[in-house]
């Protein structure tokens, strides 16, 4: 293992390392941000954070320019009105903190915030990554809280929990209550059962025990069994046979029969109240596991939705005002500052800037936008301030339409889901028919026996083990995946992934890091690379987004020089004076524009660079070219390992990119000559995948960025790299952790393992049914035995499913 950054734990790249003495020793960092954050943490006396964080944990490096970002607009009342609750002298807000990774993060956030004057309480919910803060507005500003979080390396977003989610939480709680109630009832019922089995049903206490059973079972049946009865009957009303129906019938029949035995003085039968209770509890546990997995996926999606720009700066009568995006109307004029994402679709009416549309179009280089041109919501303004006249907002934007495209692709996927829905009614029908047949056969001989046998059939075939076989394995697999930082959005995806035989990668941001870095520096003769870098950094530091050059210069401890007459030509270059000299820095186009000719030597180098997928800028000193620098989007360190391993395992690997052909070609050569398609629009990617699917290939698409969203959805399995651009992950079934492409291998193996276990589980529960159903039909099993064996078969299935976990450990 090479050296890693002391703060975030990313591998250090030899050519871009920062180091500083913090605490007692010299520590190395991958970027200036990490260094600053570490310094802050040490200054606050919270250095033991680094002991607490698990060693293997990779933290998200802080945003590069977080020190400069403005949080003061959070103090505006209008903004606060949407999110802040007032409670007496305290204000309360719920924030979403994206990059909470481990318990140590929770500790760090709570410690440093709670030390703050005027802050009443900060509490992090680790599971949902939400931070609840209560503070006294008299003593502390909200913006200060955001600032504090930034200083220790966390980005927070105000969280506006919507109704759908509230509802979801309420339903989930209902389920927990019901399960808990059934659990308590079951525990108490077991004592009574033990007494009855050991002979109390013969003695003088018989009726007393029966009545106690009745008292326990009645509320359990009515309360815990309510959802099944409701769903089962509701299904019948809609003429659908649901999984809940046999459960409801089984529970009702058993309960009714037991009550009859209890109340009819002449009856000689047994009561089966304990069966009802146990059976409801076991099924509710299964439901709980399913719901927990689903809820996790859902909260993930909600988390991403909140990342859409929610604020806009509106200009009205010359005054600018930060307002909620909901109140912006078409025709309004909004100001977009450098570094902000554009909140609306609109036309630029003043200003000029380069806009990064990579998440929508896949184009890796920012596009220059001037007056009269259109910008799209979700893209990022990188250079100068823009005034934009609003044309479309919210769900009218191109971004929203992209999401619609995705939704359509999702509907195309429905047939697979429908298959499962088709099987269930038949299964239910078979179960009920078998039960009825059993009843009719035995009816002539003995009514009680007939009733019991039929109930046994219902309970035994109750698809409990069958129902648990998949969700249980999925729940465990989801847990294993989460430990590796991988989010599984649907269980289906994992099953699909096991069958995948064709991997398609996006290029920018997936197999490359999506970040430009300085890779090449060529001074003219007699000059030094250091001086070149110093000049370039001095000039670039004035542009609104100091790029890789400044980082590089800081690392080499080069001091920046004072510059004057700074001018920025967005998308092309900058110019300024240092002392008496006049400098230009920019692309080849820029040089042509200002009339500087490139010597053949430079042209030759330029061509060479382009072949190697390196973009270049030139430094011009008093109209003479004094050097050239090249930037490259680096391959992820684990890209080639990931791709090689997959090819060795017999998968077919391809790359799709929206980028220029020459760039993609050069990149693919380095990965050992992969198949590729370049200069593709999002629609092309979808079409390409469709064509491949028609060749009966099961496709996994690995991508990032909104531009891949539709492709991700079209593919049998969509896998996204988690990144700052949260929206992108919407179309994906599986989300890989930031900077860890290699975790794809882990998931793929996990999927295969899970698939195997699910098949075993289905076999297990099927053989259980094949053995037990005939026995039950022959009235060899009474409902009690059925109710005992049913949980046992479920336990088998659960135990088998948990092997996914253990084997995972062994293979590490």
């Amino acid at each position: 293992m090479s050296a890693t950054c002391y703060h975030c734990g990313l591998d250090l790249q030899a050519e871009s390392t920062f180091s500083a003495v913090i605490g007692n020793s010299e520590k190395s960092f991958c970027c200036h941000g990490c260094q600053t954050v570490c310094q802050t943490i040490y200054d606050a006396g919270l250095a033991s954070f680094y002991q607490k964080a698990p060693e293997t944990q990779i933290l998200t490096p802080p945003a590069e320019d977080f020190e400069y970002s403005d949080t003061s607009f959070y103090d505006l009342e209008e903004i606060q009105a949407d999110y802040v609750n007032q409670q007496g002298e305290f204000n309360q807000i719920e924030l979403l903190v994206e990059n909470i990774h481990c318990a140590a993060c929770v500790w760090l956030i709570e410690k440093s915030l709670n030390a703050q004057e005027g802050l009443e309480e900060a509490h992090v919910n680790f599971t949902t990554k939400r931070l609840k803060v209560a503070w006294r507005p008299k003593d502390l500003k909200l913006s200060k809280i955001f600032k504090l979080l930034q200083q220790i390396g966390y980005q927070a977003t105000p969280f506006d929990s919507d109704e759908a989610e509230q509802q979801e939480i309420a339903t989930h709680r209902q389920l927990v209550y019901r399960m808990a109630f059934a659990g308590f009832a079951m525990m108490n019922m077991l004592w009574v059962s033990i007494a009855l089995y050991t002979g109390a049903d013969q003695g003088e206490f018989k009726m007393w025990f029966y009545w106690i059973s009745f008292i326990i079972a009645t509320p359990t049946f009515l309360y815990a069994g309510y959802p099944f009865i409701k769903q089962g009957l509701g299904g019948l009303v809609r003429r659908q046979l649901t999984m809940d129906l046999p459960i409801a019938i089984g529970a009702t029949v058993t309960y009714a029969y037991s009550t009859y035995v209890l109340l009819a003085p002449s009856s000689t039968g047994h009561i089966y109240f304990d069966t009802v209770v146990n059976f409801l509890f076991v099924i509710l546990v299964g439901r709980y596991f399913e719901a927990a997995a689903k809820r996790k996926a859902l909260s993930e999606t909600h988390r991403l939705m909140t990342l859409q720009p929610k604020l806009a700066t509106r200009i009205e009568a010359g005054e600018s005002q930060v307002i909620s995006i909901k109140t912006v109307k078409e025709g309004d004029i909004v100001l977009v500052k450098p570094g902000d994402s554009i909140p609306v679709d609109g036309k630029v009416i003043s200003g000029e800037s380069a806009v990064d549309e990579s998440m929508l179009t896949g184009e890796s280089i920012p596009i220059v936008k001037t007056v009269g041109e259109h910008v799209i919501a979700g893209s990022i303004n990188t250079e100068g301030a823009l005034k934009v006249q609003v044309e479309h907002i919210l769900n009218q934007t191109a971004l929203a339409k992209m999401l619609l495209l995705m939704a359509q692709a999702q509907q195309d996927k429905a047939p697979i889901q429908a298959l499962a829905d088709k099987v269930v009614p038949w299964f239910v029908l078979a179960t009920i028919s078998l039960a009825i047949v059993t009843f009719l056969i035995w009816y002539r001989i003995d009514v009680e026996k007939a009733l019991l046998a039929a109930t046994s059939v219902l309970i035994i075939t109750c698809p409990c083990a069958l129902g648990l076989a998949t969700p249980m394995s999925m729940a465990i697999a989801t847990g294993v995946a989460a430990k590796n930082g991988v989010i599984l959005k649907s269980g289906m995806a994992l099953q699909q992934l096991a069958r995948v035989n064709h991997m398609i990668f996006d290029k920018t941001g997936t197999i490359t890091q999506g970040k430009l870095s300085l890779c090449y520096s060529e001074p003219s003769e007699g000059d030094t690379a250091e001086r070149l870098l110093q000049i370039a950094a001095s000039l670039e530091s004035y542009s609104e987004h100091p790029i890789a050059i400044v980082r590089e210069a800081k690392k080499k401890n080069l001091s920046l020089q004072v510059i004057t007459h700074f001018q920025n030509v967005p998308g092309k270059g900058v110019s300024a004076d240092i002392g008496q000299q006049h400098y230009y820095i920019g692309t080849q186009n820029y040089l042509e524009e200002i009339g500087v000719e490139l010597a053949p030597k430079w042209l030759e180098m330029l061509q060479k660079c382009e072949q190697e997928a390196i973009s270049t800028i030139f430094i011009v000193e008093d109209n003479v070219v004094s050097g050239m620098m090249g930037f490259r989007d680096k391959l992820r360190p684990d890209a080639s390992l990931t791709i090689d391993t997959q090819r060795n395992e017999g998968l077919f690997v391809e790359v799709l990119s929206g980028d220029k052909k020459a760039v993609v070609k050069a990149m693919m050569k380095r990965l050992g000559g992969l198949n590729y398609q370049a200069e593709l629009l999002p629609e092309d990617k979808v079409r390409f995948i469709k064509a491949r699917q028609q060749q009966e290939k099961v496709i996994a698409m690995i991508g990032d960025g909104i531009n891949d969203a539709a492709a991700l959805t079209q593919a049998d399995v969509g896998i996204a790299m988690s990144s700052g651009v949260g929206m992108a992950v919407e179309g994906a079934d599986i989300v890989l952790p930031q900077n860890k492409l290699a975790s794809l291998l882990v998931v793929k193996h996990l999927a295969e393992k899970t698939d195997k276990v699910i098949k075993q589980n289905l076999m297990l529960s099927l053989s259980y049914n094949i053995i037990m159903v005939p026995l039950a039909m022959m009235a060899m099993i009474n409902p009690l035995v059925a109710a005992v064996t049913m949980p046992i078969s479920s336990l088998f299935v659960i135990a088998n499913a948990s092997r996914i976990q253990t084997n995972k450990k062994a293979s590490r």
Binding site: S48, V106, T127, N188
Partner: protein
């Protein structure tokens, strides 16, 4: 054996108390963050050694 006429209702009452306590716990959000609470116990105290380090640094 007549004692079970009192024991069983007693058991039921305790059971109901258990359910009520559980529902109270869920309602007050004690089950909302199962992952965090477990870790928080382990992390709350500042490391002794680290504090010494910090103090040395100040000297």
């Amino acid at each position: 054996m007549e004692v079970i006429y009192g024991l069983l209702p007693g058991m039921l009452i305790l059971g109901v108390v258990g359910v009520v306590v559980f529902i109270w716990a869920v309602k007050t959000g004690q089950y909302d963050d199962l992952d965090g609470a477990g870790h928080r116990v382990l992390l709350d105290d500042e490391d002794e050694a680290e504090q010494n380090n910090e103090q040395e640094k100040l000297k």
